[in-house]
Symmetry: C2
């Protein structure tokens, strides 16, 4: 089960399956099927069975998937059965909102340091965190061995911040700045830009 | 140029091209090429040329794309050359952060009404908006002819809110609640769930 064997597109769907399974469990279900999952997610049941078969297949034909078991398996595959430390760069409006978002901690991602370049913000509290000077970024991230960071700085500073983070050892970046980042091949980037999602829908409106 | 002729996957990339072109224009460029765009976006130049050819082709071999012209064309195709009214449901921590996010207005999406079901929140101000009772949702959206809404309510209420919005005439939903929505075929949904993006990256970390 070498990680290189599983296509990225399959990996990208696993968190969606996990989220749906969490939901089913919360609703009191113990067993589900690829049909039920597919109906909830708008994905074909054949696709779901195929995706899950990459991991040895967690379900039996006719009896369905045991939700608790499948959840644990997916959590292990995705490495989210553990807790992760996350660094946040940018303590403006957007960064503050990110720092206060409870969904991260609830799902195992703990923001443990927040950085900003503005002297106005350094030392102030954002959510539960004291904002540190960006000059401390490299030493803090290196010492703590942090691999995941979120960028919430203006677009024109995002690439520079990303370069600094990567030099300090970060290997996964969630970028809230509305700009594409250039990163080495062994660094992963995901983007959050809500306007981009809105623009994907207006095309279809009358 | 019937809209049904252009694959959804192409439409989904156009806002990314538009964002990169905005950036290039801000940096003072007047002309670009599929190679330069491709390098910035990590997309092959052949793919970019093919995507743009769906709209009659905006560039000439050898001379590149005129950024201003291409931007205007993409904005028209995506229907973002106009201003859009948006309704927001949910005025908790997440909804408040969404209401205060300046990026929407800057790029033509104006939140003009905010709804919440909690009597604690109704009447209070969130950003520039007075929160209205969810009982007003249907009449407000119908009267204003609003087609776009954002959902920032707890997961267990998201489907009910979506159903109400759709009944009132909404055709595009940006869903911040961590749950998949079931909607009719003529309604478009996009999702914002930052944890899902983090989980797509941890798989690749040691």
């Amino acid at each position: 089960m070498a990680s290189t064997m599983i296509p990225d597109i399959v990996i990208s769907r696993l968190p969606i399956y996990l989220r749906a399974l969490d939901r089913l469990a919360q609703e009191g279900h113990e067993v589900t099927s690829s049909q039920e999952l597919g109906k909830r997610l708008g994905i074909s049941s054949a696709q779901i069975r195929k995706d899950l078969s990459h991991f040895g297949g967690f379900g039996k034909q006719g009896t369905g998937y045991k939700i608790h078991y499948l959840k644990e398996q997916l959590r292990q595959v995705l490495k989210v059965e553990r807790e992760w430390e996350v660094a946040l760069v940018g303590a403006g409006d957007l960064g503050s909102a990110v720092a206060r978002y409870k969904g991260f901690t609830e799902r195992g991602f703990h923001i443990t340091c927040v950085f900003d370049s503005s002297p106005d913000k350094v030392g102030k509290k954002v959510g539960a965190f004291h904002v540190q000077s960006i000059d401390k970024l490299t030493s803090e991230i290196t010492e703590r061995g942090i691999q995941i960071a979120m960028i919430a700085v203006p677009a024109e500073h995002a690439q520079g911040v990303a370069d600094q983070l990567i030099a300090a050892g970060v290997r996964a970046i969630l970028n809230y700045a509305p700009i594409n980042l250039n990163v080495p091949e062994d660094v992963h980037v995901q983007y959050i830009d809500p306007v981009l999602h809105l623009q994907r829908m207006t095309y279809y409106l009358p």
